[in-house]
């Protein structure tokens, strides 16, 4: 990859996301009227048609892409300039390359199937139109995410799916717990976004994002952008911004938000970007590793990795089709997609790769262990999803981008089957989700049972279905990777260690999946007596299913079973995309498909025999897990699980309570944040506003003082003159008696004084 990507301009790419958007808008504005006037049929017709049409258009572009040469399969369309300021410019532009094409097909294809499934599943929901509006909105946002040509459009989708997820988790918002789950999902995702944003900013900074010359007094001077990039440059529209960028070997050099341009700058050595990135440090840390890790924090949030996975199990509060579409097949894989999309960046930093893979492996093992002991069928699947996402991150972390992405695709198939199967079971058991109250459903719901079993086989990793091929490839690549690092220095044992965690998790995966299968479908039905325990808050969507016999499980309508069948078949057939080189001698189809767009990472060479052996290990792990689950849970006869539970009650409890991570979050994050908020609010009211009041009080005091001075000093002087004059008059008045003789005394006295003075002063 040392040459720029060849771009094929395409028109009407925007149609793919626009169709679901149109569906969402129509249902949002007119949905309730349509539903009232024309019935539910009108609502779901619009929604399903929108997604199916979108899928067909995507297929059209797929065929067109097949007709192009492998290196030219990047379709690009620019709609308009979003913003330009200085050299920072972003277009609303779409691009389809093999990677995003694969995702688009999964999203629209599986999305369409899940829309169809929802017709049956949500049949009794009063706010039917609202549900389909949100689903369409989700598909739109997800398509923006994968088709976005630059970070901004991707971020539009990134947050848009978060919004749709929030709306759908809290779909039955009258239940405060479900509403809270939606809130939790959004906020935890925002924590991830915080990391993502920082990573992005750091990346720009390292690329020469300092568009003005930096004065010497500033800190962070370890890295100086090349002079021609750092010079002040201003542009207010896209053309000007374009003109500012120097061209090196046909590659625009400079800060950019476009994936393709960024990749080209890094890929073409002559631009010098890669050399500068390699050497860049901030606060003494290598920028590239930091960028990778921060971007991965975003992926942690969206793709539910340790420690930000906590929202995903709670997200099961949403309707089951939502869990299947958003929280299994598509949205949660956005993080994986992002790492694969930015593979050219991650591949530059062994430390970033190491952390991604390590966190993925830890998450896989951790979530699987919680999955062992859950009784809520959807919770089992939720933890399983977290665990499988961990596998995907092992894949993209170690640099096996195609394998990680392939696992994304296979997982979309089998996990959608499992979730929709569980939805069918929940529907059949009248909204019961506790596996302890199920059992023996195989007789009542044959189609659901068989499809669920196929998906179990796939996820457990038997070579007859797709899961084996993706998981095995990931683990093999993990084992053979010796380039991973954690703190800058290579850590050769990291790859094998991750492999070990992975293979243990694989055993666990098979165990908990078969456990759920056996508990649900074998033995005898345990839910009859308990009956329909309500979920009363789901007003109107519960009661309608009780057609006739209230307490007997029943098979779901054809819209549901047909979808299950299609997905199960897909789970098997998609294995042909990933037949290993070892078997066929040629690279897997999917690897060849993605090869032009993902970065190349070199793995340790290993003998064919070893690879065969490791494939055997994979199958063995699945078998171990399957057999132990079979022994413990088949037909619900074995007493061993209960005894084990008693024996290790404390440990069991810790795991059953999900290691108290939620409580830890409350203690460490939520509690302090709320307390800090309270404190700052108090400060604001008492201290800051108190200061204001103090200033006010001082002002009043000064005024009072001023008044006092005015009253007593200034006015006092004036009054004193007046009062003095009056008093003098009063006292002088007394000597005026009116007696002539008294006056005479006065005159005589005066004369006497004059005479005396006359004598005295001489």
């Amino acid at each position: 990859m040392d040459h720029p990507v060849a771009v094929t301009q395409a028109s009407f790419l925007w149609v793919i996301p626009a169709l679901p958007l149109a569906g969402a808008v129509v249902n949002a504005l007119l949905g309730w009227k349509l539903q009232r006037a024309l019935g539910r049929r009108a609502v779901h017709a619009i929604a399903v048609a929108a997604v199916v049409a979108s899928f067909l258009v995507a297929l059209l572009f797929f065929t067109r892409m097949l007709g192009l040469g492998a290196e030219e399969r990047t379709l690009h369309e620019r709609l308009w300039n979003l913003f330009t300021a200085g050299r920072l410019s972003a277009d609303l532009a779409f691009s389809l390359d093999p990677l995003s094409m694969a995702l688009v097909l999964v999203i629209t294809g599986i999305g369409a199937l899940i829309h169809v499934f929802s017709i049956g599943y949500m049949a009794d929901e009063p706010a039917y139109w609202r549900f389909f509006c949100y689903l369409n909105l989700f598909v739109f946002a997800m398509l923006l995410l994968v088709m976005g040509d630059n970070f901004v459009v991707m971020f539009f989708g990134w947050e848009g799916v978060g919004l749709a997820s929030y709306l759908l988790i809290a779909f039955w918002y009258t239940d405060p717990q479900k509403a809270a789950a939606g809130m939790k999902a959004f906020v935890v995702n925002r924590i991830g976004d915080f990391g993502f944003l920082l990573g992005l900013l750091l990346l720009f900074w390292a690329l020469g994002g300092a568009w003005t010359p930096r004065p010497a007094a500033l800190r962070n001077l370890e890295y100086q952008p090349v002079p021609e990039l750092g010079a002040f440059a201003a542009a207010t529209d896209a053309a000007q911004a374009e003109a500012l960028a120097p061209l090196v070997e046909g590659v625009k050099v400079g800060p950019t938000l476009s994936f393709r341009e960024l990749r080209d700058q890094i890929a073409v050595e002559a631009t010098g970007v890669r050399a500068r990135l390699d050497g860049a440090t901030i606060w003494g840390l290598p920028v590239l590793a930091l960028v990778g890790i921060l971007l991965f924090v975003g992926a942690m949030g969206k793709s539910a990795q340790l420690p930000l996975y906590v929202w995903l199990p709670d997200a099961m509060a949403g309707p089951t089709p939502v869990s299947a579409l958003i929280h299994a097949a598509t949205m949660v894989t956005a993080g994986v997609y992002m790492v694969a999309r930015l593979s050219f960046l991650f591949a530059l930093s062994a430390s970033a790769m190491g952390w991604v893979a390590l966190v993925g492996a830890l998450t896989a093992a951790f979530a699987a262990s919680i999955g062992f002991f859950q009784y809520d069928i959807k919770k089992v699947l939720a933890y399983s999803t977290v665990s499988q996402l961990g596998f995907m991150f092992i894949g993209v972390g170690v640099g096996a981008y195609w394998a990680g992405t392939y696992h994304l695709v296979t997982h979309a198939f089998f996990k959608a089957t499992l979730f929709l199967g569980s939805g069918s079971v929940i529907l059949g058991c009248h909204h019961e989700q506790d596996m302890r109250k199920m059992g023996g459903l195989g007789q009542h719901m044959p189609i659901t049972r068989w499809t669920y079993l196929v998906a179990c086989i796939a996820i457990a990793g038997f070579p007859v279905a797709n899961g084996f091929y993706s998981k095995d490839e990931i683990l093999w690549k993990a084992f053979t990777s010796d380039h991973l690092a954690l703190f800058g220095a290579p850590v050769p044992w990291l790859g094998p260690a991750i492999y070990l965690l992975g293979i243990l998790t694989a055993i666990g995966t098979a165990f908990y999946m078969y456990r759920s299968y056996y508990m649900t479908f074998t033995g005898s039905y345990r839910g009859g007596a308990a009956g329909h325990d309500g979920h009363g808050v789901d007003a109107g969507h519960g009661d309608g299913h009780d057609r006739g016999h209230a307490h007997v499980p029943h098979e779901s309508p054809w819209t549901i079973t047909a979808v299950l069948a299609v997905l199960a078949v897909g789970s098997v057939l998609s294995l042909f995309l990933g037949l290993p080189t070892l078997w066929t001698g040629v690279a897997p189809a999917f690897e060849r498909w993605l090869e032009p767009v993902v970065a190349e990472v070199h793995f340790r060479e290993a003998a064919h025999g070893t690879e065969w052996l490791f494939q055997l290990f994979g199958v063995l792990a699945a078998t171990v897990g399957w057999l132990s689950a079979r022994a413990l849970y088949k037909d619900g006869r074995s007493q061993v699980p209960a005894r084990l539970k008693e024996r290790f009650a404390r440990a069991w409890n810790v795991v059953y309570q999900k290691y108290y991570v939620d409580e830890l979050y409350d203690l460490v994050v939520v509690g302090p944040a709320v307390r800090l908020a309270g404190l700052l609010s108090w400060i604001d009211k008492r201290v800051v506003d108190g200061l204001v009041h103090l200033v006010g009080a001082i002002g009043r005091l000064v005024a009072e003082l001023d008044g006092a001075i005015d009253r007593y000093l200034v006015d006092g002087a004036v009054n004193a003159v007046a009062f003095g004059t009056a008093g003098l008059g009063r006292s002088l008045r007394r000597i005026q008696t009116g007696h002539v003789q008294t006056y005479l005394y006065g005159a005589l006295g005066g004369a006497l004084v004059v005479v005396l003075l006359n004598f005295l002063i001489r």
């Binding site: 920072l88 720009f204 003005t212 004065p215 500033l218």
Partner: protein
């Protein structure tokens, strides 16, 4: 009618003319033997006409404005008071044209929101809006502001609009100051007469705070005037000093004010900077001068909150960009670090304070404080993206926060309280309202695809290279903001419906007419922010040319 020379005068004085007509109507009432109701309705119509004309003129000015240059356009320039070299000088550049448009829009929306247009008797009764007084002891809440002393309200509202528009188009310092004060007084009365329970306190707090700011500003203006170099007046005469801001900017760039004599040993530019900055910072409002804002918002009637949040807060950053940046370039660079720190405090501190608020309007008011912090941070960075983001943030916040206050007013009109905890499950009773609140809250928390995101993103990316650590800390706000908004939605709208709110009427047409246009603009700007950026860009990039934080 709207010629380039007079367009800004139209935008500025149309509301004033309408206000005069309202007064005339009241004066002529005994002669014409009009009923009280007829006078009220007449005043309302005149207010709509006046602010509508102003909006039309603002839109026309926006259309006439050529965004490809950084020149002052649509100029009207005549000598006003020859003795003091004061001119009547109106004109707009990229910075002010965006604010002119915003003022026109928000003024009109606020006027719509002042109308007592209610569908259904129940709604009117709930709001305390039954015409002809409200003496019924069974309904203790006071009469709705939209039916209380209507002609006076409308006249003051129109006067306020003239003051705001004038502040943004005036290019003569003295004229600017006159408009600035003209805007202050009606605001005081509008809060103090038509406000809530603690209206006197809030109004006086607002008034004193702002007046303190204006005094500092006046001192700085006089100081700048006497330190300015001779300049030519509109008529061609030469004056010893000038109030002309364009000329002053030219002199500022040439270092005229650095040569001014120091005062008490402090450099004149720094003193003038600090005085101006504090004067404007009070308006933003910047920590620690922000505490008038929550009180004023909580007590102000809805349309006044709308204007306060939508336009008045923008005058702070506008003033800084109009005075401090071009006139006192060196001092601005010297102070940039401090501005960034204050911006950071605004962003993070206010966001946390929001998390603890129990009153919906108080929460929204603090979120305004938080969002205005982005503007401070962006302008302090002095990068193209930072400053464009800062001004775009003024514009988008000017669209979003009025929405927020409008939705707060909607529920207050019905429930007569705003305590978040006391609501619950409102989405069932008022679904349309819930959807609009969702839109406005998500816009405010910076959801991509809505207007708030791009400006935040641009501020972040513009400020990061300059203030790396500050920006990183500021980015925490994306989490906190989401938390407090979603928590508020959760407590107000989700969960079981509180039976007390059963049967409340959903949005009526008055509310729709004021909310939907704003909502539409928020969405359009979310996907096409370049519509504003392309207009403001050239001016701003010229403004910061050669500047960078020291």
């Amino acid at each position: 009618m709207f010629t380039p020379g007079s367009i800004l005068s139209w935008a500025t004085f149309a509301p004033l003319a309408a206000a005069a007509l309202v007064v005339l109507l009241v004066v002529l009432r005994p002669i014409l033997r009009l009923s009280r109701r007829a006078v009220d309705d007449g005043a309302r119509l005149l207010a709509l006409a006046g602010s509508g004309l102003s909006l039309l003129a603002a839109i026309a000015a926006w259309r006439m404005f050529d965004g490809s240059t950084d020149q002052v356009q649509l100029v009207q320039h005549v000598t006003w008071i020859r003795a003091f070299n004061i001119e009547y000088f109106l004109g707009v550049d990229g910075l002010s044209i965006s604010m002119v448009l915003l003022t026109g829009i928000i003024s009109f929306v606020a006027t719509i929101a002042s109308m007592p247009w209610w569908s259904g008797a129940r709604a009117a009764e709930l709001a305390g809006m039954v015409e002809g007084g409200h003496q019924d002891p069974a309904h203790p809440h006071p009469q709705h502001f939209s039916v209380r002393a209507v002609p006076g309200y409308m006249a003051l509202l129109l006067l306020l609009q003239t003051g705001m528009m004038g502040t943004f188009v005036a290019l003569d310092m003295f004229l600017f100051y006159v408009f600035w004060e003209v805007m202050l007084l009606p605001m005081y009365f509008l809060i103090g007469i038509w406000g809530g329970p603690r209206k006197e306190y809030a109004a006086i707090k607002f008034f004193l705070y702002t007046l303190a700011g204006s005094v500092l500003m006046l001192l700085a203006i006089i100081g700048l005037y006497y330190n300015s170099a001779p300049a030519e007046l509109a008529g061609g005469d030469t004056a010893a000093h000038t109030f002309n801001l364009v000329e002053l900017a030219r002199q500022g760039a040439a270092g005229q004010f650095e040569r001014a004599a120091p005062i008490l040993g402090f450099a004149f530019t720094k003193l003038a900077f600090v005085a101006l900055f504090i004067g404007f910072a009070i308006k933003i409002p910047m920590f620690p001068f922000h505490t008038w804002l929550p009180d004023a918002h909580v007590e102000a009637p809805t349309p006044i909150s709308v204007i306060l949040a939508g336009v008045l807060l923008k005058m702070g950053p506008y003033g800084i960009l109009r005075f401090n940046y071009p006139l006192l370039r060196d001092a601005t660079q010297w102070a940039a670090g401090a501005i960034a720190v204050f911006g950071l405090i605004n962003i993070v501190y206010a966001a946390f304070v929001c998390l603890a608020q129990k009153d919906l309007k108080r929460l929204i008011a603090y979120s305004s404080v938080s969002h205005m912090g982005f503007t401070l941070l962006g302008m302090a960075a002095m990068t193209p993206a930072g400053i464009s983001g800062a001004v775009l943030n003024m514009f988008t916040h000017g669209l979003i926060s009025p929405m927020l206050f409008l939705v707060a007013g909607v529920i207050y009109d019905r429930a007569h309280h705003r305590e978040i905890e006391r609501f619950g499950g409102l989405a069932q009773a008022l679904p349309e309202y819930a959807a609009v609140v969702g839109l406005s809250f998500f816009a405010s928390l910076g959801l991509p695809g809505l207007a708030g995101f791009i400006s935040e993103f641009m501020v972040f990316s513009g400020a990061f290279p300059v203030f790396t650590t500050y920006t990183m800390v500021a980015a925490i706000s994306v989490v906190i903001t989401a938390a407090y908004y979603l928590w508020a939605i959760h407590r107000m709208f989700l969960g079981k419906l509180n039976p007390a709110y059963q049967g409340y009427p959903d949005l009526n047409w008055r509310e729709r007419l004021s909310l939907y246009p704003l909502g539409a603009m928020v969405i359009v700007l979310g996907f096409y922010p370049q519509a504003v950026l392309s207009v403001i860009g050239n001016t701003l990039q010229t403004l910061i040319k050669g500047m960078s934080p020291l």
